[in-house]
């Protein structure tokens, strides 16, 4: 029994709680059955549902990518028609951006982990959290209706006037994206409030895990940028339906204005996708080097800096679009500024490794892959920010390669790192480490074989979104296609061993990596309410020089006044109370 003075006025009675290695009651054993899952307001279950949905969409998007790459084996038609090809790349882009990358880390992993890192029982608005998920599903249904009708062939960017003239089902998809936007907005709103109001005793802003900082920055972008996307697709829908004349030049509108509206969301959106990835990297790198993160504040604040500057650079997608010269100049200048906080992060992570105790387990391998690939993505981003060079490279495969290095080599690899890192926490099972390492080799090699040649052919002039291409690019395209198959194999291996671990994997201890993170001080898988007790935090999440015991403190007397009860009784009691809960 100990006491911690948590506020200026109050002294809390604190007691050490060791996570039990044999939990009688977890969130998985509680509330079983399909209906219980579908109506749950538990952030962990909602996180898992997002994860499954994202994985399904990723499989669809990935299959589309393989079809595209296969078509590009030969310069002319290989096996599908031009119109089909156009629909496939549009869907690949739209699905990967809106249904995979945007919700992947915040809504799936963030939902599961973030409240636990705060020592909270749930997010601030659990019902809203469930609502976000169903709004996401509704958005997906609209998109699938579009597929069943005439598909979509505008590219995921919906540029007018092509999108106002196209004979495909643009309106279904824009309405789908409109709905999906609200899912993202509500998640962001929920997270911001949660981070402000739901922190356990002792978690000051300076003790917030960097993953939470990253999610905080992400949520700010979601709340500020996504509404503009909503209004953009709404105006586009109206343009198509009623001929509003705002974006369609034939009716007096301005297609470049549409691009402004679109990129005002879609550029910050790339930070919605990548910044949560930064959070995961910080967590993993510190755990596997058993060392305090180097430059905590530099990493935390650079996320916010990226979130802010990220709003001011959207015009770098429009250097050749016919926007004014002064706008082009300003956007180019600001684009370089956003590169700096990103660079700061990379250097701080590398400095964290210095004199660490580095263990190359699978999550750490993915962090290394991330640092390598994302650096390339960043450098080529600087290349594309330089005005004269961008004029040559814009809308070529160089850009395709660049954003795949950032989005896939960055976000998706970070997602894989996070998934492998928190998999034992989420499922309570260990995966096959050897297979995981083999898969990571496939992913790394496959990725580079796929996308490195694209830099070269892009610089040589190969435009993007091309169904046919001139013969000189054949060798590059074929190499790229072979690489994509390797990538596919890598993902299949991952799917196999993760599924295998789910059903036949060894049981995981509460804290297999020896992390100091608060989420690891709960059982694996966690209790229904995350912690049996309200945690009290006295050390930062990366204080590896402090003994583990001091990370396992909780209120000796529970705030709810049932300290003598077992976890099961608490759950039962609270479920009873739920029946009387009102909306609010």
């Amino acid at each position: 029994m100990a006491t911690a003075e948590v506020s200026n006025k109050k002294t809390l009675k604190v007691q050490r709680f060791k996570p039990s290695d044999n939990p009688s009651n977890t969130y998985l054993t509680d509330e079983k059955g399909v209906w219980a899952w579908m109506t749950t307001v538990d952030h962990k279950k909602i996180g898992i549902m997002y994860l499954v949905a994202v994985a399904i969409f990723f499989a669809v998007g990935g299959a589309l990518a393989l079809l595209l790459r296969t078509e590009l084996m030969t310069p002319a038609k290989t096996f599908i028609e031009a119109d089909t090809y156009n629909q496939l790349f549009t869907l690949h882009g739209a699905i990967m951006v809106f249904f995979v990358l945007v919700p992947s880390i915040p809504a799936a992993l963030g939902n599961f982990i973030m409240p636990m890192q705060l020592g909270a029982k749930d997010v601030a608005f659990p019902k809203l959290n469930l609502a976000s998920f169903y709004i996401y599903v509704a958005g997906a249904i609209f998109t699938f209706i579009a597929l069943a009708q005439h598909g979509l062939d505008t590219g995921w960017t919906f540029y007018t006037p092509y999108s106002t003239e196209s004979s495909s089902s643009v309106i279904w998809v824009t309405m789908g994206v409109f709905i999906l936007g609200f899912s993202s907005i509500l998640t962001g709103t929920n997270f911001i409030t949660t981070i402000h109001k739901m922190r356990a005793p002792g978690i000051t802003w300076g003790k917030l895990p960097l993953n939470v900082w990253a999610l905080y920055a992400t949520s700010i972008i979601q709340v500020l940028a996504t509404p503009v996307l909503a209004i953009t697709v709404l105006l586009l829908t109206m343009e198509r339906w009623l001929g509003f004349g705002i974006f369609d030049p034939a009716l007096g509108g301005d297609p470049v204005l549409f691009q402004h509206f679109f990129w005002f969301y879609s550029h910050p959106a790339v930070y919605i996708m990548i910044v949560p990835g930064f959070g995961i990297i910080s967590e993993v790198i510190s755990t596997f080097s058993k060392k305090t993160v180097f430059g905590y504040w530099a990493i935390a604040l650079s996320s916010l800096a990226i979130a802010f500057i990220g709003f001011l650079v959207w015009g770098h997608h429009m250097f050749t679009s016919g926007q004014s010269a002064v706008a082009t100049t300003v956007f180019s200048f600001l684009t370089f500024l956003v590169g700096i906080p990103t660079g700061i992060k990379i250097f701080n992570w590398i400095a964290t490794l210095y004199k660490g105790s580095i263990k190359m387990d699978t999550p750490m391998i993915y962090v290394f892959i991330f640092l390598f690939l994302f650096s390339i993505g960043g450098f080529t981003g600087i290349m594309l920010g330089a005005l004269s060079v961008d004029i040559h490279l814009h809308d070529t495969y160089y850009v395709v390669a660049h954003f795949h290095y950032v989005m896939m080599g960055g976000t998706l690899i970070a997602l894989l790192a996070g998934l492998h890192f928190w998999w034992p926490k989420m499922t309570g099972k260990l995966y096959n480490e050897k297979l995981a390492k083999i898969a990571s080799v496939f992913i790394f090699v496959g990725f580079n074989v796929t996308f490195l040649p694209q830099f070269v052919m892009g610089a040589q002039g190969m435009p993007r979104r091309y169904y046919n291409y001139v013969d000189q690019f054949t060798a590059f395209h074929q190499t790229s296609t072979i690489g994509s198959y390797l990538l596919g194999v890598g993902f299949l291996i991952i799917l196999y061993y993760l599924m295998h671990s789910l059903f036949k994997g060894a049981k995981s201890p509460a804290n297999p990596w020896g992390s100091r993170g608060l989420e690891w001080q709960a059982t694996s898988p966690p209790d229904f309410h995350n912690f049996d007790h309200t945690p009290v935090v006295i050390h930062g999440p990366y204080d590896y020089h402090q003994p583990m015991e001091e990370f396992q403190l909780g209120l000796a007397v529970d705030t709810n006044g049932h300290d003598s009860e077992t976890a099961k009784e608490v759950v039962d009691k609270e479920r009873e109370q739920w029946k009387n809960y009102s909306l609010g």
Binding site: A2, T3, A4, E5, V6, S7, N8, V14, H196, K197, M198, R199, A200, P201, G202, I203, T204, L224, V228, D254, V256, L257, H260, F264, F311, L312, W314, G315, G322, Q323, S324, A325, V326, A327, T328, T329, V330, I538, L553
Partner: protein, 113 residues
């Protein structure tokens, strides 16, 4: 063992919620109505080009301030909520300003600064 910590657990402090008086609320309501009449009246006065918009928007901002500060209780609320409102507005201005940087200067072949 005694462990000390200098900050509070999170930002929720115990505080009394502000209760506005009837007179206060009516005063704001009447002020808003008078300002509406004022702005309609001013719209009939000939004011040279950019300033008519400036005047109309100034009145609108005063009205919006009254609603936000006293109806929405921002005046008594935590400063963070006011910051959210101002932040949102700042980002809106940013969006408009940078978009205008394009739409107003399309005719310049090279930047004229």
């Amino acid at each position: 063992m005694i462990l000390s910590e200098d900050k509070t657990m999170s930002e929720h402090n115990h505080h009394e919620h502000h209760v506005s008086s009837v007179g206060q609320l009516w005063a704001i309501g009447i002020a808003l109505t008078l300002l509406t009449i004022l702005t309609v009246g001013l719209s009939h006065v000939e004011i040279p080009a950019p300033f008519d918009v400036v005047v109309a928007l100034t009145v609108a901002f005063v009205k919006a301030f009254l609603v936000c500060a006293f109806f929405m209780n921002l005046y008594w609320d935590t400063k963070f909520n006011s910051m959210l409102l101002i932040g949102a507005f700042a980002f809106f201005i940013l969006m408009v300003a940078v978009t205008l940087l394009d739409t107003l200067y399309r005719n310049d072949v090279v930047p004229s600064f």
